[in-house]
């Protein structure tokens, strides 16, 4: 068995070992190193890099806590925007469905920079959005979207919502329409049928979507880099800046470790929350 | 993995007797973990013979065929083709034709390319290849379809291409795995006849796997009946029906009534079956049975006389009609015997209709009654 499996699997596995596992390990190791003379990495075993971040209220509030909050908010909005779309798409067929699916998937295949460019045209001071809003008398002075938290959230939702739709569709398509009909048949209203039958069955898809979108949002750096400002210092952006602009690889590494750890903690929290919801439903049924 | 000629010689003793049979399967086994899919199967196929492997799904017939073709490794035993040990050869070295259940026509190749692929591998000259394609397609009635893609053909035509592809290589032996099972019934009957005619004309040694007893009985010289990974009986179709060796065969091939009893020798080639009621049925002895041993008497439904008037004689059973069904050409009765057993009877040339609830007498001739040893397997 091994003799038959090893040759085809080895190249990919070795590539992943050398270019993923070892580098990831090396990030962990580097996070304990020191930066000497502002440029050279010196082998050490210190927690200074962690202390520098965790001991600094500015970093904790404006970077870590800010990233968590903005990621949660953007994820929640993505779910609110994505759920109805998935519900609608699952009922469509043929050309209509193909068009809707193409539109949903377009943001995932068109590059980020390209999309950001479109949003910049929309967002900027005298841009489309402001002209539109002023013309519609929503407000009468241009509002700042570019280099602002509003723009960052809108873009995170723009990229996150399609993932939510796709994950939910996976779940929704598995629900037999007979289930809903059966519920209606025994007297459930449309709303009750949705709430008691469809919604619980989309929990796995919803959870999968939340995990992906939250992780993407939490680690985002390109979006705050391109349309954020000094008030949107997300942790991914700090990593980028420390690594590439300040060349402080130990600090960037420590930040990466913190980011992965916090991300994992939040996902575990979500899993526990979702697990409880599903368990509660089972209890209630009994 | 690559045992070759050296071991082949050692196996020769096991392969006794040496014969010029086209296929020899000797004590072949296939196990998946602790499950035995094929359990000690042996049979031969003579040159030019048409042999079917018949059995219900999961009986190991397809696995056996795939082991002969080399698609599945054997767990034990040996396979010879024209005296050459092939047990451990890769499939491409075995020179056997194979027709798949789903035809397995390569979807990216035209009909002609499908047929030509094997010929090209053999580095035949171009004009030879062209002739062989033409010949194989004309034999299978597909001339003019050379440039079609498989998906542009009907199921029956695809089936013919699969056959042409196998025949073009003039294999020593043709293996077919339920080749007609994906066709609708009417076409299946037509193809069955064509296939048989073609096989007889080309004197092509054929091993044919099917779960359809009609197919196996009508096409084969001999049938290997398999059940649960084992061979139940190997015999000509007529023999299978007339002289089933086991209850499984009797049940699988046609419908049979079973009456249990103990054997007693009657002399003169006759055997008696003492039923629990004490009545003794007389039968011709075809299979050796032990005196006093548990046996089953087999009665084919169409080999009985049924009468509303009392009959006399040794093989008369009395009972009451529970159900009588009229099918036009045939009347089927379900009779509850006085001893409590159910017996089915069919009457083809009837001039009276016996209503349900009537008392009847059923008679069967000793030469129509078969006796098999009681098989604890059921």
């Amino acid at each position: 068995m091994i003799r038959r499996l090893l040759p085809p699997l080895a190249p990919a596995l070795v590539a992943l070992l050398i270019f993923v596992a070892l580098p990831m390990f090396w990030v962990l190791r580097t996070s304990f190193n020191e930066l000497a003379d502002g440029a050279y990495v010196v082998e050490a075993m210190t927690l200074d890099n962690y202390a520098r971040f965790l001991g600094d209220p500015w970093y904790l509030v404006n970077t870590l806590w800010f990233s968590i909050r903005i990621a949660l908010v953007a994820t929640a909005i993505s779910v609110i925007c994505g759920y109805p779309v998935a519900l609608y798409i699952v009922k469509t067929t043929g050309l209509q469905r193909n068009i809707l699916m193409a539109l949903v998937m377009a943001p995932l295949l068109i590059g980020l920079v390209t999309l950001v460019y479109g949003w910049i045209v929309i967002f900027r001071g005298g841009g489309l959005l402001n002209s539109l809003m002023i013309a519609l008398h929503v407000y009468d002075r241009p509002v700042r979207y570019m280099w602002d938290i509003k723009g960052v959230v809108i873009l995170l939702v723009y990229i996150g919502a399609p993932y939510v739709v796709l994950s939910l569709l996976d779940s929704l398509e598995r629900i037999s329409p007979y289930l809903v009909e059966a519920a209606r048949n025994v007297g459930a209203s449309r709303w009750t049928a949705f709430w008691k039958v469809v919604f619980p069955m989309t929990m796995p898809g919803l959870y999968a979507g939340l995990v992906i979108v939250f992780s993407l949002n939490f680690s985002a750096f390109a979006v705050p880099l391109m349309i954020g400002d000094s008030n949107t210092q997300m942790i991914g952006l700090i990593i980028y800046r420390e690594a590439l602009l300040n060349n402080d690889l130990p600090f960037a590494s420590a930040l990466s470790v913190i980011m992965v750890a916090v991300n994992a903690l939040i996902l575990v929290g979500m899993a526990a929350f979702f697990g409880r919801i599903i368990l509660n439903r089972l209890e209630a049924k009994r | 993995m690559t045992r070759r000629a050296g071991d082949g010689r050692k196996n020769q003793d096991e392969m006794q007797p040496m014969s010029d049979d086209a296929i020899q399967v000797r004590r072949v086994m296939k196990s998946y973990g602790t499950m035995l899919a094929v359990d000690d199967v042996s049979f031969n196929v003579a040159e030019g013979e048409f042999v079917s492997l018949l059995g219900p799904s999961g009986c190991g017939k397809t696995t056996t065929l795939r082991m002969i073709a080399g698609f599945t490794d054997t767990s034990g035993g040996a396979i010879r083709v024209h005296g050459r040990e092939v047990t451990h050869l890769p499939p491409e070295k075995r020179d056997l034709g194979f027709v798949f259940q789903n035809y397995a026509l390569w979807p990216h190749m035209t009909v002609a390319e499908n047929v030509a692929f094997g010929l090209k591998l053999r580095r035949k000259p171009r004009d030879v290849i062209r002739n062989k394609i033409e010949e194989a397609l004309s034999v299978t009635g597909l001339s003019g379809y050379e440039d079609r893609l498989p998906r542009q053909l009907s199921g029956g035509q695809q089936q013919r291409v699969a056959l042409a592809r196998a025949l073009a290589l003039e294999p020593q032996v043709l293996l077919m795995d339920e080749p007609l099972s994906n066709l609708d019934r009417a076409l299946r009957v037509v193809m069955r006849r064509e296939l048989k005619e073609l096989q007889a004309r080309m004197k092509m040694t054929t091993l044919y796997v099917t779960h359809d007893q009609e197919e196996a009985l009508s096409m084969s010289n001999r049938v290997v009946i398999m059940n649960g990974g084992r061979v139940e009986q190997i015999a000509a179709p007529y023999e299978l029906y007339e002289n089933p060796a086991t209850r499984f065969v009797a049940d699988f091939v046609g419908i049979t009534n079973f009456l249990e009893g103990t054997a007693s020798d009657m002399g003169g080639g006759m055997v008696g079956v003492r039923l629990p009621s004490g009545q003794v049925l007389h039968a011709q002895a075809r299979v050796p049975v032990a005196q006093g041993g548990a046996v089953r008497a087999l009665i084919r439904p169409e080999r009985v006389t049924i009468s509303p008037a009392e009959l006399s004689g040794p093989n008369v059973l009395a009972g009451r009609v529970e159900l009588s069904e009229y099918f036009g050409a045939v009347l089927r009765y379900t009779v509850r015997l006085d001893s409590g057993e159910i017996l089915r009877a069919e009457v083809h040339n009837f001039d009276e209709f016996i209503a349900g609830g009537s008392r009847v007498w059923i008679c069967t001739l000793p030469e129509h009654l078969r006796v098999i040893p009681h098989d604890p397997r059921g």
């Binding site: 038959r4 499996l5 085809p8 699997l9 190249p11 990919a12 596995l13 590539a15 992943l16 270019f19 993923v20 990831m24 090396w26 990030v27 925007c81 109805p84 779309v85 798409i89 809707l100 699916m101 193409a102 998937m105 377009a106 068109i110 920079v113 390209t114 999309l115 460019y117 479109g118 949003w119 045209v121 929309i122 900027r124 489309l128 002209s131 723009y158 919502a161 994950s167 449309r190 999968a208 939490f218 390109a222 991914g236 690594a243 590439l244 690889l249 980011m259 | 073709a69 698609f71 890769p90 499939p91 075995r94 034709g97 194979f98 789903n102 397995a104 390569w106 990216h108 094997g118 591998l121």
Partner: protein, 264 residues
């Protein structure tokens, strides 16, 4: 069909709004790219001047060249790594198969920021200065799981009897691979290649970490451009990228079904 109720109408309305939201920046970019009046909407005509300018810019052409080479190499390498692995996974059942699959898909689970940083630090560590190799490696590893996913799906749909039939008429393993297996799953191969290429072509996060000086891929080039300049030439370039992505989407969807591919 029953008459659509209020809920369905609301759902449809909301979906339309969301679709408008999704198409908005794409449409705006395309409109600005062909609008003769720079950035002044609504457009008053049609011009390809911005496209001409974008396509004659030395910087952009060089970026395109880099992205092209990068995309082709990364897609080729990723598929070369993924194909044998996919075959081994589809053809065999063994203990730990799930784990192996998870390991092979792991690049999808790691945030791109961290993966890029890790590779950056790793190549510094092993003493390889800045060069093309880290960039190629980063792109290849990043897109490999997608190739694995498409190829696994195609091989699942491949009837094993095609290969058995080839072996039966005398083709060895290698011959069967090249004459039967690969041609039969060619749609999967093409869409896998197209997806890997387009993901690499459009990538920004990995390139910004790993691109060596003088080898700036197009998205990074576009990023630096719009940071300092703001004109419709950038729109034309962005528009070109959108059209190319759309083409790739059509190819992948026709051949493999986009849905299956993008599930994360």
């Amino acid at each position: 069909m029953t008459r659509p109720d209020l809920g369905t109408i609301a759902l449809r309305f909301f979906t339309l709004l969301m679709m408008a939201f999704l198409i908005f920046p794409i449409a705006v970019t395309l409109v600005v790219a062909v609008n003769p009046r720079e950035f002044i909407l609504p457009p008053n005509g049609f011009t390809l001047d911005w496209f001409k300018a974008a396509w004659s810019s030395k910087t952009f052409l060089r970026g395109m060249g880099v992205s092209l080479v990068l995309g082709l190499v990364a897609a080729t390498l990723a598929n070369a790594l993924a194909l044998p692995a996919a075959m081994a996974l589809v053809r065999n059942d063994f203990r730990g198969k799930g784990a192996v699959n998870l390991v092979l898909m792991s690049p999808l689970l790691i945030p791109t920021t961290i993966f890029s940083l890790a590779l950056y630090i790793w190549f510094v560590r092993v003493g390889y200065g800045s060069g093309l190799v880290p960039l190629l490696v980063g792109h290849t590893i990043h897109v490999m799981p997608y190739a694995l996913r498409i190829l696994t799906a195609s091989l699942h749909n491949l009837d094993p009897s095609y290969e058995e039939a080839a072996r039966n008429v005398g083709a060895g393993r290698t011959r069967t691979l090249f004459s039967i297996t690969l041609p039969v799953i060619r749609t999967g191969l093409i869409s896998s290649f197209a997806l890997c290429f387009i993901l690499s072509w459009n990538d920004f996060p990995i390139s910004v970490f790993l691109a060596p000086p003088g080898w700036t891929p197009l998205p990074v080039e576009l990023f630096s451009y719009i940071k300092f300049q703001y004109d419709a030439v950038a729109a034309a370039l962005a528009g070109s990228l959108i059209l190319l992505s759309a083409l790739a989407m059509v190819i992948i969807d026709r051949l493999a079904g986009l849905r299956r591919v993008l599930r994360s």
